[in-house]
Amino acid sequence: MPDNSELLFKNRFFKVLFVYAISISFVVTGIYWEDISEVIVNGSILCLSCIGIG
């Protein structure tokens, strides 16, 4: 008979909640660190590695 901690661990609800909490906090942290600006700048420049030159 699994104990309560195993049931909690296996319970999809808590897994989903945990991953959402971590992921959303990552997104918020990234926005605070101005990651989006970095992504825009990086994506706007021709990536020489991507096209096989540098």
Binding site: L7, K10, N11, R12, F13, K15, V16, V19, Y20, I22, S23, I24, S25, F26, V27, V28, T29, G30, I31, W33, D35, I36, S37, E38, V39, I40, N42, G43, S44, I45, L46, C47, S49, C50, I51, G52, I53, G54
Partner: protein, 278 residues
């Protein structure tokens, strides 16, 4: 309408919409530089594709590691997408996945892929996307990415004559890799997705826990094996219904005449070894 037809429509939209900055072909060939480049779509669509609007998550992640920063925003987006729908974007939206589906339709003898090769993509994720960019400050996976080679490398070199003068061994290497992936995609269904795609490797980790997932009703199932025959990534849904390999194309759901397989949302309840819906 049949799920397969819907999926093809969505795949066509997934190919066109993220790559609809058509002004690049009329103007001076410069990439889109607006705010939409800050959107990280959970698909393998190189941001050096001339008409690309958004950014590739793998390229963006490597860039953060190269500048010795933590890619919180990119990982967060992939986490939210993954825990919601798992690897559904691979089966329904990814342009390179769609290209592989089209290539596989070319009538040639087909080859089955051994399960061993599916582990390579985890090594690609760990080494070429995470570790090597941190250690050597180079976007290693981008140098080999066939999606970038096909949709970025070839058109950019065709559109920009000055680039042709600085082509070197890396370009030849990249075109060889791209060519091999194209050839193998003709012979093996979703070859790149199953063997090398680091984005698929990452999103697949969420398949077993995602809110939207496949559910198997073992009471209704008659074990006809039609689901495993139609699966493009070689899974047997009866053995591992939410395998990390599953791209959630839903062809198995579409082919099941007994309503034993469903794609549903569900959060409560235990995660059992084989999910049963009673």
């Amino acid at each position: 309408m049949n799920v397969s037809i819907w999926r093809r429509i969505v795949q066509v939209l997934g190919l066109i919409l993220p790559n609809s900055y058509f002004q690049v072909f009329i103007k001076d060939g410069s990439l889109y530089q607006g705010n939409l480049k800050g959107v990280v779509l959970p698909i393998l669509n190189c941001y050096s594709t001339p008409s690309a609007y958004a950014s590739c998550p793998m390229g963006s992640m490597q860039h953060f590691f190269v500048i010795q920063a933590f890619p919180a925003y990119v990982l967060g987006i992939l986490g939210v997408v993954g825990i919601t729908i798992g690897r559904l974007t691979c089966g329904w939206i990814c342009p390179f996945g769609f290209i592989q589906d089209l290539l596989h339709k070319i009538p040639t003898p087909k080859i089955k892929l051994h399960k061993f090769f599916s582990y390579i993509k985890y090594a690609v994720l760990v080494f070429m996307v995470f570790l090597l960019p941190v250690l050597f400050e180079e976007t290693f996976f981008c140098k080999f990415c066939p999606a970038g080679g096909l949709t970025g490398g070839i058109p950019q070199v065709l559109m920009n004559p000055p680039l042709r003068e600085i082509l070197g061994w890396l370009y030849i290497q990249k075109m060889i890799v791209t060519g091999l992936i194209v050839v193998f995609s003709i012979l093996i269904s979703r070859f790149f997705c199953r063997t090398f795609c680091p984005l698929g490797a990452l999103l697949g980790l969420f398949n077993s826990s995602s809110i939207f997932h496949l559910q198997l009703n073992k009471i209704k199932c008659v074990n006809c094996k039609k689901c495993s025959k139609v699966c493009p990534v070689g899974i047997d849904p009866l053995v591992n219904t939410n395998s990390p390999e599953c791209i959630r194309c839903l062809e198995c759901v579409n082919v099941c005449k007994f309503d034993a397989l469903k794609f549903k949302q569900g959060v409560k309840g235990k995660v059992l070894k084989q999910e049963v819906q009673i």
